[in-house]
């Protein structure tokens, strides 16, 4: 875990409730230590994920986004992850064109019983994102002061 020591990066996880969220719970119950960067958004199904959530996250300055759902054919809603797989594969073509390194986004399948697998997914993805460092922030493109929104300051603890 040496790579991820020190500065945390902003990593968002979109997880389906039935498999991967439960898998992350299983990892917790098993006390499988993980890097702390990841923040999980719980969704009913990966089929709920509009790829634009991921684009939005990167636009907002996320350093990495991880999607995880039920293994193909195990979807609680039978087909959600099949649609998700196609949508997310398509998304993979968009991200590098707008300047998001493909390594900042991954999707995978983790079942409710795969606590160990969840741990290793989180650990390797976090490491992968740390290897890429912070995502460059969007700034105002020009010196036009005509139209700039003052950046709303992020919260500080």
């Amino acid at each position: 875990m040496s790579v991820t020591e020190g500065k945390e990066l902003r990593i968002i996880g979109f997880l389906c409730n039935w498999c991967s969220y439960a898998g992350a719970d299983t990892a917790g119950v098993g006390r499988f230590a993980q890097p702390t960067d990841l923040r999980i958004v719980r969704l009913p199904c990966t089929g709920r994920i509009n790829p634009l959530f991921i684009v939005r996250a990167f636009m907002n300055g996320a350093d990495g986004v991880l999607v995880s759902g039920c293994h193909p054919r195990d979807c609680h809603y039978s087909e959600g992850n099949f649609y998700a797989r196609r949508r997310l594969e398509t998304l993979k073509a968009l991200l590098p064109v707008i300047g998001v390194d493909p390594g900042r986004f991954e999707y995978t399948w983790v079942s409710a019983s795969e606590g160990q697998r969840w741990r290793s997914v989180v650990a390797s993805f976090t490491e992968q994102v740390h290897a890429l460092g912070s995502m460059p922030r969007f700034m105002s493109g020009t010196s036009l002061d005509l139209c700039l929104r003052p950046a709303v300051q992020p919260r500080v603890f």
């Binding site: 945390e8 902003r10 968002i12 409730n17 039935w18 498999c19 969220y21 439960a22 992350a24 719970d25 990892a27 917790g28 119950v29 006390r31 499988f32 230590a33 993980q34 890097p35 702390t36 923040r39 999980i40 958004v41 719980r42 969704l43 009913p44 199904c45 089929g47 709920r48 994920i49 509009n50 790829p51 959530f53 939005r56 996250a57 907002n60 300055g61 996320a62 039920c70 054919r73 195990d74 979807c75 609680h76 809603y77 039978s78 087909e79 959600g80 649609y83 949508r87 079942s111 409710a112 019983s113 795969e114 741990r119 709303v152 992020p154 919260r155 603890f157």
Partner: protein, 651 residues
């Protein structure tokens, strides 16, 4: 909106690695949070009372609890809100235990993470709606899949409780593995004597419809309203006409068919009734062995059948049953020991499985209860039992302990001595696992009273020698090699998931573990539930089990189904999709992707629009992600709610 935040210590589970006080303090700064506190156990009686009190004192309209996973206590806290007069959906949970305190070591980082998870929850809650549950009608019927002892128990309990039960069994008779056993441990009472009456009860129960020789073809629908299509495989016999007299089997010329019920150590006829106590006691034809069906000639059975029940042209038949709940009790299969080359890989006729040995011991088995070697029919004297064949062995992908082999091996050594007082049993074992009532005493008796020689170690090879078998192994307690010449070797093969378990799980939309055993809702608290509402588990399909546990679980699953279907209507989950007609342009994309056919296109003021059938919608949100206008929105997981969480995390 007035939001209250409650940060749970969970004793030291959370507070040990998260500064809960700091999290509560941070939460006070969030928009619309008017109250925040930390609590020792939020889910406890005083914890919940504290929430109810704060709702009153601070006029809260929404609550965030930061504690364990919502999969644990979301329902608990929603009820708390309802007690305080709030809508149950004005609630969010931040999972700071499973996702934070239990997996992160750095307290500062954990605290930061917990506070951000609370922030996400607050921002989502600010956009929550007061959803109201509807109601829908349910079918007061249960389907039990699998007619082993667990399924039989579940079916009988449900039927006695007044539910209509459809019991589906893959084999021609119910009874499962237990019906093949000679005796049961630790009482050594006759297996068919205690199972037989239950099987007869199934046959005679007015509330039970039995489909033997049938399999589940497809499942759709949802809790309360499943539609299960069952494939009734062709028996080539009209079971309504068949009286089970057995004339057909007596006259069948194809007498060399390996007997499936007898684990292929005996022979039977192409048309047969699998065993005398079979339920239903009906004949069926093995199409691969039948001369008429394979070569077109014969038809002896049809000639002798007194009721003219033979139907060589019978085809599989599909029937659809509407049920409100499903109990999966599909049991287990035996490990295929031929993967172990050192035990001969199936080449030696006198190296057999414990289940085959059980058939040899059984008075209704192929040898009528006389122990005979399959190779030459001789009575064996020295018998070696090898434990853990397909259990606790990572190298063949079976790392788990089957759990009941130690016991049945002990039973078999006892029965062996009873049958043949001059015999000697040897047991190669890894450890003895006998943690049940009277179990350890039982294994002790096998060793001490019945003289079974237990050798702690593995067998490295079995080699034929002068018509016997040289069993080479290690005695790890004495630290030396041992070689035993045996007449018969019995392998304690482990249990593995039933053939086709994965496919059935996919049809039922339940999870299964890497070995194919179905996954329970919670390992401790929901041992017979699954993640799919209305689907329950009984017996070894959830993991290897002995008979008492299977029976107990069958009863437990039945109790769950009975309590579910005790109501006339079920509350529908309001977390379903809804279409904003003003935004919808009727492009039909949502309709095309809905996995449940829950979207229909309607005409509204002359314009095409999508409309959700709320009782059919399962709330997956595939439509919401497909709708370009954002007109279809999954309630409680709307675009704006998820965007709010994303924005709370990074902007």
């Amino acid at each position: 909106m007035n939001i209250g935040v409650f940060v749970c210590h969970c004793g030291s589970n959370i507070a040990g690695t998260v500064d809960t006080e700091a999290v509560a303090k941070a939460a006070l700064e969030y928009r619309e949070v008017v109250f925040a506190t930390d609590a020792m156990y939020a889910c406890s009686e005083p914890g919940q009372a504290g929430i109810v009190e704060a709702i009153g004192t601070y006029a809260l309209d929404g609550v965030v609890v930061a504690s364990c996973t919502p999969r644990m206590h979301e329902a608990t806290f929603r009820r708390t809100l309802e007690r305080a007069g709030l809508n149950r959906y004005m609630f969010e949970m931040a999972n700071i235990r499973e996702h934070v305190s239990w997996v992160g070591k750095d307290k500062a980082a954990n605290t930061r993470k917990a506070a951000e998870l609370v922030h996400m929850a607050v921002e989502k809650l600010r956009r929550n709606e007061r959803l109201q549950a509807g109601e829908f009608d349910i079918a007061k019927r249960v389907m039990v899949i699998g007619g082993g002892v667990a399924g039989i128990q579940a079916a009988l309990d449900c039927a006695d409780g007044g539910l209509e039960v459809v019991l589906v069994e893959r084999e021609p008779s119910i009874g499962g593995k237990m019906s093949k056993l000679d005796k049961t441990f630790p009482t050594v009472d006759c297996s068919s004597c205690i199972l037989g009456p239950k099987m007869v009860d199934v046959a005679q129960h007015p509330n039970i419809t039995l489909y033997a020789l049938s399999e589940v073809d497809s499942v759709d629908g949802f809790v309360g309203n499943f539609n299960v299509t069952v494939r009734r495989k062709a028996a080539y016999v009209d079971w309504d006409a068949c009286t089970g007299c057995g004339e057909c089997a007596a006259k069948c010329p194809s007498k060399k068919t390996p007997d499936r019920f007898n684990e292929f150590i005996g022979l039977t006829t192409a048309i047969n009734i699998p065993f005398p106590q079979a339920i239903p006691k009906k004949a069926s034809i093995n199409a691969n062995a039948c001369i008429k069906l394979t070569k077109g000639k014969c038809g002896a059975c049809a000639k002798v059948c007194p009721t003219g029940a033979i139907r060589f042209d019978q085809k599989d038949e599909l029937v659809t049953e509407k049920v409100g709940a499903i109990i999966a009790a599909t049991g287990y299969d035996l490990f295929d020991f031929t993967k172990y080359g050192e035990y001969g890989g199936g080449r030696y006729p006198d190296v057999i499985t414990a289940m085959q040995y059980e058939r040899l011991l059984s008075a209704s088995g192929p040898t009528e209860g006389h122990i005979r070697r399959p190779s030459d029919g001789a009575e064996p004297r020295d018998i070696v039992f090898i434990q853990c064949v397909g259990s606790r062995d990572k190298s063949i992908g079976r790392p788990y302990c089957t759990g009941f082999c130690c016991m049945y091996t002990a039973k078999q050594t006892i029965l062996t001595k009873d049958h043949m007082p001059d015999s000697q049993s040897y047991v190669f074992y890894m450890d003895i696992r006998s943690p049940g009532k009277n179990y350890d005493e039982f294994t002790r008796r096998a060793m001490e009273e019945y003289g079974a020689k237990y050798i702690r170690g593995r067998v490295s090879a079995i080699q034929p020698k002068n018509g016997r078998y040289l069993v080479k192994g290690a005695d790890t307690l004495l630290g030396r090699q041992v070689e035993i010449e045996a007449d018969l070797v019995v392998l304690a093969v482990g249990a593995e998931a039933a053939r086709g378990a994965g496919e059935l799980a996919e049809k039922l939309r339940i999870s299964y573990d890497p070995y194919g055993f179905f996954l329970e809702g919670h390992p401790k608290l929901k041992p017979v539930e699954t993640n799919t509402a209305g689907v329950y588990l009984a017996g070894s399909c959830q993991g290897p089990k002995d008979i008492p546990s299977s029976v107990a679980q069958g009863g437990a699953a039945a109790a769950k189904a009975l309590s579910l279907l005790s109501k006339d209507k079920l509350a529908s989950d309001p977390q379903v999709s809804g279409v904003k007609l003003a935004r919808c342009i009727g492009c039909g994309k949502c309709e095309s992707v809905c996995p449940f056919g829950a979207i229909e296109m309607i005409e509204f003021r002359g314009m095409p629009k999508a409309s959700i059938i709320e009782t059919v919608c399962q709330g997956c949100g595939v439509c919401t992600a497909a709708c370009p206008q954002g007109a279809a929105q999954l309630r409680h997981f709307t675009d704006n709610q998820i965007l709010a969480e994303v924005n709370a995390l990074c902007l």
